[in-house]
Structures are given as C-alpha cells and as structure tokens.
Symmetry: C2
C-alpha cells in the first residue's frame, strides 16, 4: 500500500486544487500536520484525503472556513470532546435543512413563473415581468 501521496495526487482525489490544499493548510483546516519528504515536499496520507473530502463536503454545503477550522481543532485535540463535535455537526445539519427549505420555497415561486410563461408562449399572450 502506498501510504504516501503527493499534493497533486491528493488534489486529483479530493477535487481540490493544489493551491487550495496549500491554502487550507495555511488556514489551519487540517487535523494533523502534513509531513514532508527529503525535498520539503508535502506527504499526505489516506486519512488526509478522507478529511479533505469531508472538508469539500462541508464547503459544498456552505460551512464557513472558520467553522471547519474549529472542527479540525477539536479533532486535533483528540478524544474527549465528542459532544462538541456533535453540536457543531448538528448545527450545520440544521443550517442545511434551513437552506433546503428556503430553496424549496423559491423553487416553487419560480416554477409558478415558469408555468405562467409556458401558458403565455402556448397561447401567444403577453404580460408583465
């Protein structure tokens, strides 16, 4: 098993750019310090890939970097703060749900507009907005 991955390989696997990977490291979003090889090149592990994939998920659902940083800090601290991590995840879960219901509401409004225009196009009628 090749436990060691280059930044390029990690980029490919996680879908994050190498720029973003270095950026995330600077921003202290990682759960463990990235080791280096003889030439100071970063060496990643499968765990890093797993964590970074989760980060990508968090980002895709709108979690701000400071929150990810906080979560990462908890993980770095080690066992004992599971309740804190849970609270953080639940809070994010709540926000996703909120966001989805907002989206659903707007979606409905837009669907209505679409139907209006469909009927206008079908019947050759016109109207406002």
């Amino acid at each position: 098993m090749s436990e060691t991955l280059s930044i390029g390989q990690v980029a490919e696997r996680t879908g994050l750019s190498v720029h973003t990977l270095r950026f995330y490291e600077r921003e202290e979003l990682l759960t463990a310090p990235v080791t280096r090889d003889t030439g100071r090149r970063r060496v990643y592990t499968e765990d890093d890939v797993e964590w970074l994939t989760m980060c990508a998920n968090f980002r895709a659902t709108g979690m701000p970097l400071p929150v990810i940083r906080a979560y990462a800090a908890l993980v770095r601290q080690g066992p004992g703060n599971e309740q804190d991590r849970l609270n953080l995840l639940r809070e994010h879960e709540r926000r996703i749900a909120e966001r989805m219901s907002d989206l659903a509401a707007c979606q409905e409004l837009i669907s209505y507009k679409v139907r209006v225009y469909e009927s206008r196009v079908a019947h050759g009628t016109t109207g406002g907005l």
Copy 2:
C-alpha cells in the same frame, strides 16, 4: 393608494438595504427607469417592489447578477421574448434542483456522522475524525 414609495420604504418591504437598491439600479437590474421627485429623490412603484422581491428570490437561490440583468433586459424590451424568459427561468430552475440534490447528498453524509458521534457520546467510546 400611495403609488409612490421612497427608497427607505422599498428597502423595508423587500428586505434589501437602501445601499443595495441603489447598487442594483447602477447595475441595471431594474426593469424600468426609476423616476425622481422634485428633489431628485427616487420614486418607486408597487411594480418595482414586486420586481425587486423577485430579484431577492433569485439572489437567495444563487442567481448571479448578470443573469438577473439579462432577465431584466428582456422584460424591459417588452412582449415578444417570452420564450427567452422561459428558457432563462427553466435553466435557473434546473440549477436549483441540482443544488438541492447536492445538498441532500451532503446532508445524508453529515447525518451519518452525527449518528456516529451520537453513539460515541452515548457509549463513551472514541474514534477518529
């Protein structure tokens, strides 16, 4: 009927700030030129409020300003381009649906994590990430 509204009143009704209202006007997001009173103050109509409310909905669902600008331009042009407006709305509808399914997928992943931590907290066990 007070057909005329000040920028402050419109801000209150639409939830957009007065800054944002002026900004949207500069950005050509409006469907009609805003008239002015004797003192060069903006005078809005109910139609403006309706349109701006729709803009707020568009923004809340992630429609970029250039797309809103394009839609506004179509409305300004008047009748005859209903098909174009419809295409634009449908495209946005599609993107909202896409976004919602992405969110749902991530939500599921996070719910799983939450369950993992719940059981850890409940049983006093520990683990990674």
